[in-house]
Amino acid sequence: MVQLGSRLLKGYRGGHVVIRFALGGCTNRPFFRIVAAHSRRARDGKYLEQLGCLDPLPNARGEKVAGLNLERLRHWLGCGAQLSRPAEKLLGLAGFLPLHPMTVTGAERLRRRRRAQEAAVPPVAGGLQQPGEKP
């Protein structure tokens, strides 16, 4: 039992408080808890406080449900906590923080890729139609 006690009362050198996602749930069924924890802790390990949750799978109405305890979030940000990138992106989507630049970049990249795919597909389709037109 002494070994267990020393594991629980771990002291780290350095590290800071981060607000990040802790993964839970079951196989093929993820569920994230938005959590304030030491950066050196395990992803799903002991945290300081749970600040919310996010269900990445859409529900029966086609919505992804997320809860954020904004008051405690403001408290931890005031204490100097840092945010992980997915947490920043989520808060940008929520409107609590401004939109993350990587969200915008990701959107532009996706658009460019889609446009390229659409540009690549029609000439092939146009080429295939000609043998069909001339019986």
Partner: protein, 292 residues
Amino acid sequence: MTGLDLQKVFRPVKQELKPPKYKLLTEAQLEEATKKAIKEAKEKLTMPPVLDEREPIDDVLAEDKILDGIETTKYIFTDLTYSIPHRERFIVVREPNGVLRKATWEERDRMIQIFFPKEGRRVIPQAVFKDEHLVTVFQQDRHEDILNMCIAQFEPDSADYIRIHHRTYDDIEKHAKYDLLRSTRHFGGMVWYLVNRKKTDGLLIDMIHRDLLDDATSLITLYHMLHPECQSAKEAEERKLQGVDLIKVFAKTESQKEGYIQLALQAYEEAMATSTDHIEELDLCCLLQHQL
């Protein structure tokens, strides 16, 4: 007017079964216990709020055209701060087309029930509350149960709450089942609805049949308070009518079922006359028996 039938207010509600407790009380203690029971019954009979339908929420907080078409589903963000009232909670929706808007009332109710569950309320309202199923409920005479369920499930100013209440009151008025709601907390709401729409005739006849003349006069006084410009209100004020005269004037001027009300009043007066004769006979019999 709601009536105070202790038997009905405290009738057994479906709960876990406990064996009955018997107490030995003196007369004074029994009186005290009855008074306490009446006080508790009055608390149970407080009318639930009657509000106007709420305005739909239609507020856009931000429009980000860059995010249009990137996500396939929408995100709903709920503020989980414990100390703010549910009406002021922030619940926003990020649509797939990049628009950040406030959530509609239905979405708000659902999210608040998910994160702050209230007893007796479900996240998705039950199928009983749809119109086609309400008909079955009314056929079984379970108006009070469905109204209790409605109060537990919906907010007082939501469209569903108002719709279900109005349907129930209409059905009761159509079949004259006023006694189902008497001595429950829904009676007040029903009377308010009927008086606002001037459909009080059936209720008046029912009250006269059950010899509740005081309730009938209170109903007509309420009608005059709500519609002061009607003819019977002016006459009543001029001539300062009370009791049966008030009902007769009301029947003549305002009601559609004048004949029925007159018949009911006649039957009541005859019953009063015969019962006074009976009382006098009974008093004589008692005196003779005492003497013998």
